[in-house]
């Protein structure tokens, strides 16, 4: 194996003022996890496919007189396969160990972290918390991607632990593919706008479901004169996101606690409304409602664009089944439903002109000066930086 194929050590993760301080053992845990994930996707996952093609699929065909037609048929047929079981058990274990590693790191220094955030957030006009905001059912029915307490739980008052834990692990889980500051999604959007729409200069930008603002900051830097609003239902994420941005000298993002279904900005207020990896963590009623709100809040000539995992249309049932792993086994309960939607009709129902709808594939921007080149061929399903970007221009 060449050095370029190895995931970068967590040593290279981008630090900012509210990033948890890690020792050599913490770094080793994240490095172990990054390499375990690499082993599972690179060495074991191909064998899962082989087991499907050589054993499970022929047995299904023998019994049913046809090949599996849906991912659900594949899933039920694969449930008893030993290779699948081993891969899944190790992968689930890896997710749990990642949470344990991040939370172990964060909770032992929680007072210091919360104090650092509090200093940066004191009397901050760009941090607007609203304790009356209810956490929607879709964000708390289960703890999304096995993150105990989800995005929103506050262990102590003025807590940032959920956010610090979330931030600390992304680099290991993605093998560094999103860059030092895990902002590859935001950077990909900036790069796409610069190359495809260089004349587009939004003055007001909205990011819905921003979490810690890691994908908002690249937009704020690219459009330094713009006013950015980043909303989320989680106070811990916003406290941390605001402190993080401020410590990175980014001061044009307002972090606002709000539910994307109930935003009180005027009609036509924003030139650009974006989300990153957001829709698969919502619900069947919330998604169309929010798209309607986006249509309402977007200015004529404005753009809405969303980064997501690829949709399932046109994918063979086995690949859909593998991509569905997170839905069933990593607490992503809307993932499977969301990825089978036809997005263009849904956007049309929200009021967008179907002619102005677009869908394209975007690859994450990787910090190549520091990191190995991201693998172009292999995807670690659900984690690699290859996304669908969909959206529409408002007439």
């Amino acid at each position: 194996m060449t050095t370029r194929e190895l995931p970068p050590s967590w040593t290279h993760v981008g630090r900012h003022a509210v990033f948890p301080q890690a020792g050599i053992d913490d770094i080793a845990r994240f490095d172990f996890l990054a390499n375990l994930n690499g082993f599972l996707s690179g060495q074991v996952l191909p064998k899962v496919r082989e087991a499907y093609e050589s054993k499970v699929k022929p047995a299904f065909e023998q019994a049913a007189g046809r090949a599996p037609q849906t991912r659900h048929e594949v899933r039920k047929a694969m449930a008893h396969d030993a290779t699948w079981q081993t891969w899944s058990a190790l992968r689930r274990g890896s997710m749990e160990m990642r949470q344990q590693a991040g939370r172990g790191l964060v909770f032992r220094q929680l007072d210091a972290l919360n104090q650092r955030a509090a200093v940066l957030n004191a009397d901050a006009p760009m941090l607007k918390l609203d304790p009356t905001v209810q956490v929607p059912r879709y964000a708390c029915a289960v703890d999304i991607h096995c993150m105990p307490g989800g995005y929103h739980t506050e262990v102590v008052p003025n807590d940032v632990s959920a956010a610090a834990n979330y931030d600390s692990g992304i680099f290991a889980t993605t093998g560094g593919m999103l860059g030092r500051y895990n902002d590859g999604g935001g950077q990909a959007l900036v790069q796409w706008l610069a190359s495809e729409h260089p004349q587009f200069k939004p003055r007001r930008i909205l990011d819905i479901g921003c979490t810690i603002g890691h994908n908002t900051v690249p937009l704020a830097l690219a459009f330094a004169d713009a006013k950015i609003v980043a909303v989320d239902v989680s106070a811990p994420m916003l406290r941390y996101g605001h402190a993080r941005a401020k410590s990175m000298h980014v001061d044009n993002i307002e972090f606002s606690q709000a539910d994307g279904e109930h935003l009180d900005y005027p009609d036509g207020h924003f030139d650009l409304i974006m989300t990153s990896m957001f829709w698969h963590e919502t619900s069947a009623t919330a998604m169309p409602r929010m798209l309607g709100e986006i249509q309402r809040m977007l200015a004529p000539g404005g753009l809405t664009v969303h980064l997501e995992q690829p949709q399932y249309q046109g994918m063979d049932p086995y690949e859909q089944f593998i991509r569905d792993w997170d839905a069933y086994n990593n607490n992503e309960p809307f993932w499977s439903v969301m990825h089978e939607y036809e997005l263009q009709p849904m956007m049309a129902a929200a009021g967008f002109d179907p002619e102005r709808y677009f869908e394209t594939r975007l690859r994450g921007v990787v910090d190549r000066s520091i990191f190995p080149v991201a693998s172009g061929e292999k995807e670690d399903f659900g984690r690699a930086a290859l996304w669908t970007a969909f959206g529409a221009w408002k007439a």
């Binding site: 053992d25 375990l36 079981q85 058990a89 689930r92 909770f107 007072d111 307490g149 989800g150 607490n331």
Partner: protein, 124 residues
């Protein structure tokens, strides 16, 4: 404002809300695998720490890692190290030894089921 004390260890290990899937037909196997993987990770942590230590020692010119790899114990040290290794392996594989003992004792009637001993003592 006083903050209630937290238990960082218990919090770090907290379970995520939502029923956990089990993949093997026997959940016991998955429990053991989960513990084994945690040990594998902590072993890697120790190995990484040791490697860092060796590199630091080498950088300070105290010894080279070639010296470390080429090192061989004097007979007395070798014996101590071998005893340690033997004890270590026995500790790790305790259950194998105990299950073997149990097979032998059952055959000779020494390891009786507890209910049998209870009944025996009830009447003697």
């Amino acid at each position: 404002m006083s903050t209630p004390p937290i238990d960082p260890i218990a919090l770090a290990n907290a379970k995520a809300r939502g029923k956990r899937p089990y993949f093997f037909k026997d959940a016991d196997v998955e429990r053991v695998l989960s513990i084994a993987m945690a040990i594998a990770m902590e072993h890697a942590v120790t190995r990484q720490r040791l490697d860092a230590l060796e590199r630091l020692i080498e950088a300070k010119g105290l010894l080279t890692r070639a010296e470390l790899d080429g090192w061989s114990a004097e007979p007395e040290a070798e014996a101590e190290r071998t005893r340690w290794m033997k004890e270590y392996i026995a500790r790790v594989l305790r259950i194998v030894q105990q299950e073997n003992e149990s097979v032998e004792r059952s055959a000779s009637g020494i390891d009786q089921p507890m209910e049998q001993v209870m009944e025996e003592l009830r009447h003697s």
